[in-house]
Subunit: 461 residues, 2 copies
Amino acid sequence: MTDNSRIGEVLSTLDAGLPQALDRLMEFLRIPSVSTDPAYAAEVRRAAEWLCAELTSLGFQAALRDTPGHPMVVAHSPKGTRRPLLFYGHYDVQPVDPLELWHHPPFEPRIEHTPQGRVIRGRGASDDKGQLMTFIEAFRAWKAVHGSLPSDLVLLFEGEEESGSPSLRPFLRENAGELRAGIAMICDTGLYADGRPAITTQLRGLCGEEIVIRAADRDLHSGSFGGLAANPVQILVNALATVKDASGRVTLPGFYEGVEELSPELRADWDALGFDPAEFLARVGLKHPVGETGRTGLEMVWNRPTFEINGITGGYTSEGFKTVLPAEARAKVSFRLTGTQDPDRIRETFRAHVRAHVPEDCTVEFHGHGASPASRMDISDPAFAAAKAALSQEWGREAAYIGAGGSIPIAGDFKEILGMDSMLIGFARDDDRIHSPNEKYDLDSFARGARSWARILAALG
Amino acid sequence: MTDNSRIGEVLSTLDAGLPQALDRLMEFLRIPSVSTDPAYAAEVRRAAEWLCAELTSLGFQAALRDTPGHPMVVAHSPKGTRRPLLFYGHYDVQPVDPLELWHHPPFEPRIEHTPQGRVIRGRGASDDKGQLMTFIEAFRAWKAVHGSLPSDLVLLFEGEEESGSPSLRPFLRENAGELRAGIAMICDTGLYADGRPAITTQLRGLCGEEIVIRAADRDLHSGSFGGLAANPVQILVNALATVKDASGRVTLPGFYEGVEELSPELRADWDALGFDPAEFLARVGLKHPVGETGRTGLEMVWNRPTFEINGITGGYTSEGFKTVLPAEARAKVSFRLTGTQDPDRIRETFRAHVRAHVPEDCTVEFHGHGASPASRMDISDPAFAAAKAALSQEWGREAAYIGAGGSIPIAGDFKEILGMDSMLIGFARDDDRIHSPNEKYDLDSFARGARSWARILAALG
């Protein structure tokens, strides 16, 4: 740590300002910026405006940038001599259903005392509003100590991450010159399961798809038509039951092309993490891994592709019983991808598989929802080692290179469109219930997250 | 036709009173007596009260009879020397969803002029309010001409037919002495497809079942858990996809025990009806029969058992996309039964089939929704021939003995509990959209239905 970074003062400033930082986060969390549901469009914009005002007050040149969907927020600190750093986060959040399972309204965040420490409870606390505020608070403290923001920062916040980021790639293309930096810092991942600080160096890709199968032109009485007329729910069920075989492998032809085995080095690192699938699953009330036979638990979630049914609906689903033969059935499904699997090609193969189940007098309609290949970072960039050391120092234990089962397509987009590598550093925990009712973010993650960014800023200085 | 039946006068009275009869039916249809949804309980009762008042005003001894569910309405005409006749109908109706597909509010019935003639449009018009009013109007006209009701009538109306009739069997047992008659007339079936009058002599049974599969104790992020944690929708889909094989046969062990082949006589009769499955399916936008290989279309719907998925739901099903690994999946399914198939035994076999798909760390819960064996009438009772002749006379063409794919468990219950055969005579048409949006009943069915009952009353006199 060099003297001119004055890192000690920056950290003290962060510690002293924590109550005010929490107040700001709570205000941000109160905005219900659910991007996937058009009913919340105005609230999504309000979250962008809140962020923009916050950054402007810190001295950034910040602006809302309209897209065909929800706006981007882009901000710049003054030019200098630093290697330019881009920071990315997303200000939109997941839907809150099933609402009845929340213990308090999801957009009325609270600080709760739990046996594991204080947590910030509310939708978006962990994914991703709490996380993106860690680096904003680090910039604020830096400025308080140094009198000015760190130079050469580019901040990019999107409002469509939870709905497939339809506007992101066009926006990166149109603003490539403005956004290109030395490296991107993406704060949307977690600590390792046991709380060890971590840099995520690989992410699974995603191919999301919605299927609508229609048979008769109306709901039919299953007495009059049952046994004679096609049932679209049965057709859908038959198609979805055959995407995986009994060993957990996806049966689509060519599906595994591009899937890569772990390098011996990473396999050794991951084995050393001591991941116990039974213990991991026990936290959500389960016991047995259901992935491909012969794979370790971490491979199943970080390095193997998979197929999941995310939602299904058709026919009568309310109270009581209705002997209806439904006119329509719908499902939302997704593949998680690894290596160099091609999402577009897998989408076509999946559609062909479904079509083969649909009789000639019925119809099937497909809607694509996001397609991103998997990402793998080049960890030979010295910035990785510097950030790893800074994280180890803040958390008092050796930081790890880990994988992630979720998709952060932005990392692939930065590489492909801006030719820029990404460092994925975040402070979420496995029990944060992201995408679920009662989402939370540990107050410790928030406070030490901000301190971590301050140290990383100094280390990359 | 004997002189003392004065049938000509009764028919003229019916014709002259048709406008008033329609007004009464419309009033009845305006009561939203949806029995399966507890929110409508008071309306179901109001429909029973309306019916009771109507019958009392006609001179019946009528009363609401409470049950643990919705009330029965029982009415008696004066004792006499006639072979006692029981008339049955149900005053409850199906739910109306999807409401957005109705062209007008389902409980604001209308008379519409269509190219095929005038129709009464609204929920319950055909199933079963319009039908039960045909015999009530016949009694009214009979009384107007003869000065008194036909003697020895027992009327039974239930309000739970569309929700599995949970109170019916106990009620029949507790009131067997009061309800037992020479034969039961059940008005809840249809004309044959081409409009030929018909007496339904066999009905499929039903075994309805609801399945709830639960995996993790919360919805999970499919990135963090996909490939490792059990997906209850996938488990459900796998179980439901294997209930039938590629030839359309149900795979459950012992399922076909008790299924009977058609008698050569009935097969000949049915073949003579000239049923064209392609033409039948074309009316609902389909082409190809999907039942068991090697069976005729009428066998598929009248004489073969089947399995249908009536509803399915799980995970995220709203607008947009959510990469959730759901905690829970639900389905409502039903088997249509024939011959002497035992619904309780089939329920157990099905449950065992589903359980075999559920891993040890997940749970499955079952809810039974109705169980009734198939019914087959003894058509050697001379009342069948008499009623057939009366129907042929009214409609100007030979009436037929037909089957029905739907369940009217009441016929089996009458046989089992009251030792009484049933005649199933109704005037619904295949395009009545019962259980679907925009249900209708032909005005011709209503008017000639009432005239048919008048003739049958005279013929059985």
